[in-house]
Subunit: 293 residues, 2 copies
């Protein structure tokens, strides 16, 4: 399998679908649609939607069934970045190598662009095709819960409240589980649901998603310490400067690397029941977890 | 009909339902649930959810079927107020007679509380009971579209961009149609849908909602000019001070009153086909449109 070619073709598929779901940039009022598109088409890796599609395939489903759900997840992910970057939150000037949404469009429009991306995610969910086991109501509940005040937003709140304070390893795990792993887990769960996965497969894909999501965030934390701004496309060392709760800060760099390895192996174990159908997910996990760190 | 007793009993019914849909204030992380509840239980009139329930009844349905939809609408309305009050938007210190969310919890948490209220609205929609004509997917699409970048958020953007500029009557109408009338119209439409209304009834309730929503906003604009801060529970004269686009500013106080009257009559015409079943909606329209101005 040529992973690079695969990633590029999947990114194109997802970009086309996202483009079709979003109002064009000249639709009234143009400012908001320009701002939404500025952040959504900023060269993101489309990691979560790609995982969603791959999970659907691992469960014997079609990418076309999973595609709206994959798009919804990417809209939610992008909304969370736009709001997270705001001056009242992380106050970040750069994201994916470009000025953040509020730097370009102003803070008020950035708040609204995030709101609009979150809202359009749910509008897209309304267009998803239900399966025998999973109704649109079930897909909606799954997505809203993952994005809600006890998951994604809970992670943001805990992250915000941890700034400048000494956090325990347990608190750090709580932040990562909710801020990163929740949406990533839901991405693969929605993919599995679009393939009408039975409870055994859904449970395996859930374990995979959670371990992958945690590993991914640990590695992100490590990269913030070890990489340059240029390579990251966002401000490096920012976490340290802002006294953010990160793995290297709490347990040290070496232990963080061990933790990433342990979680990676755990993610792989989750894929065992998919045998050869899990190959793509396996390759994606390796790709994500073997980033330079 | 004793309207006051009716309103109080409906407010209680809606408050109880909202309370059951929202995580308790001590659920982790408490800050976000306290902030959500602070704004959601700030003594709002519950106008939109009450209209939703009354529309269901006018169409021969039950309030219990409409109640989750009514709650979702109130969560969306409250989220829009929380974000609208932010320093980067209208920068309002008071709302419903109390300090605004960001004044109490800080700007970051207020952004997240708004996000969480919007998200929980969709989670509540997932629990709505579909009818023969209207699936959960249809209810979801209706709600997301009303809250989205071409309706509610479009109105906010246009409002933000109109600040300090001279706006035409047409632009003002665009702002009000999207910022206020869209959600109010969706409130009564969702009520009608929960009652499995046929297309004729749905169309009549839509016309009613739009006219009522516009009339309501014209009157709100008038009250901002003519009332005191104490009576309004929010900063009076604020619109004028901020050079906001309002009816009195664009067409004058007298013409604004005429416009309110014209829209009120239009709203009443929309209720004609409901005959005696439309009594409650009629009484609510009169109540809303005969506020002191």
């Amino acid at each position: 399998m040529n992973l690079n070619a695969y990633l590029v073709s999947r990114q194109k598929m997802i970009d086309r679908a996202l483009d079709s779901h979003l109002p064009k940039a000249n639709v009234k009022p143009p400012t908001i649609h320009q701002a939404m598109r500025y952040s959504l088409f900023a060269g993101g890796k489309r990691l979560r939607p790609i995982l969603c599609l791959a999970a659907a395939e691992a469960c014997g489903g079609k990418t076309s069934q999973a595609l709206p759900l994959a798009c919804a997840i990417e809209c939610i992910h992008t909304y969370s970045l736009v709001h997270d970057d705001l001056p009242s939150m992380d106050n970040d000037d750069f994201r994916r190598g470009r000025p953040t949404c509020h730097r370009v469009f102003g803070e008020g429009i950035a708040v609204l662009a995030g709101d609009a991306l979150l809202t359009v995610a749910f509008e897209i969910i309304s267009q998803a095709k239900p399966t025998k086991r999973y109704s649109v109501a079930t897909l909606l509940r799954e997505t809203a819960a993952a994005a809600g005040s006890q998951r994604l937003i809970a992670g943001q709140v805990a992250d915000l409240e941890a700034e400048g304070k000494k956090v325990t390893r347990q608190q750090l795990r709580y932040i990562h589980e909710n801020k990163t792993a929740a949406i990533l887990t839901t991405a693969v769960r929605l993919g599995a649901m679009s393939a009408n996965a039975d409870s055994k497969k859904l449970s395996a894909i859930t374990n995979f998603g959670r371990a992958l999501g945690l590993a991914f965030q640990v590695i992100d934390d490590i990269l913030d310490v070890t990489q340059t701004t240029e390579k990251l496309g966002k401000s490096a060392g920012k976490d340290l400067a802002a006294k953010k709760a990160t793995y290297p800060a709490v347990i040290g760099l070496e232990k963080s690397r061990e933790e990433a390895g342990r979680l990676t192996r755990q993610a792989h174990r989750g894929l065992a029941i998919f045998s050869s159908k899990g190959e793509t997910l396996r390759a994606l996990a390796n790709y994500l977890l073997e980033r330079e760190y």
